[in-house]
Amino acid sequence: MRNEELDQMVEKSFRKEPDFYLPANFAQKVTFSLVRREQWKTDLHEYLYLTGVLFSLLAVVSGFYYFVDKEFVLKTITFVSENILPVTLILFLLNFIFFADKVLLRLLFSRWNRT
């Protein structure tokens, strides 16, 4: 009898739910995080795509212009190589502004909206 009672009790206790719980709005929170993550990915892809297009366009135009005004293109290349540091810094700054506009600010705004 004792063994049967124990058996029954053990079986019942196995079917009891453990004492772990999630907040009531868990599903909404997960969906929100997911939307934000997907948005971040989309924004980043868009930024990389646009940057790629911009640089490709610049390369194509420069190549094409080389045949139109070879001297100007060579002068420009010389200017860039002589002022590599400021040119790089300006390019970096412009690129960062573009990145902030396309990705960073959107991410920050979505975080602020959440809070």
């Binding site: 009672e5 196995f14 739910e17 453990p18 719980y21 599903a27 997960v30 969906t31 939307v35």
Partner: protein
């Protein structure tokens, strides 16, 4: 809405359908994850990670198994990875002798003062992780042996053996502390449920 319709809705970009899916399966995930990691403070993050993986891999889901089995597999793997990453390896590898060592820590005198319900629950939580996993999947979530095999990758024989040994371990623990007088309390509890 059945699972197939739900998946189709999510894949077409309906995020409300995803919220619906999370609501439908969060209990399953919290049972598996909670029993495995046993940390309430980390539970939400791990469960969130599980559902993120569900969303990311939903396109790869084929109707070879039930959606609940597939989600349970993700929950199990995520929890095991969490344990491997943040806890001792001993927690992932079952060790009967360790579980039995805990048994001797409880004395009859202590038991009389303790709440039996809580005691049994504590004993389940003290079982090795693989035991807790198969117990939760089989008894609480009512998965079949084949489904548990699919979820955990353990052979059917091992699952049966874990179930049997978990029950035997728990019974041993209870026999150790429950005397004839306390059995009345046991009866009351069994009948009131």
């Amino acid at each position: 809405m059945n699972d197939a319709e739900l998946i189709a809705q999510i894949l077409s970009g309906n995020m409300n359908a995803f919220t619906f899916l999370v609501n439908r399966y969060q209990k399953l995930v919290v049972h598996i994850t909670g029993r495995l990691i046993q940390r309430q403070d980390e539970l939400e993050d791990v469960c969130q990670e599980v559902f993120m993986k569900v969303y990311q891999n939903l396109g790869k889901y084929r109707n070879e198994c039930k959606l609940s089995t597939w989600i349970a597999t993700i929950a199990y793997n995520t929890s095991i990875n969490y344990l491997r990453k943040f806890k001792k390896v001993d927690e992932v590898n079952p060790d009967d002798s360790a579980a039995l060592r805990n048994l001797t820590e409880y004395k009859s005198d202590d038991f009389e003062k303790a709440d039996l319900h809580r005691y049994i629950r504590e004993q389940i939580e003290n079982l090795p992780v693989q035991y807790r996993t198969v117990l939760t999947l089989f008894h609480l979530e009512e998965f079949s042996y084949q489904e548990i095999e699919q979820i955990t990758g353990m052979p059917e024989g091992t699952i049966k053996s874990y179930l049997f040994r978990a029950k035997a371990l728990l019974k041993e623990k209870l026999k150790f502390v429950v005397d004839e007088n306390s059995l009345k309390l046991v009866k009351e509890i069994t009948h009131e449920e």
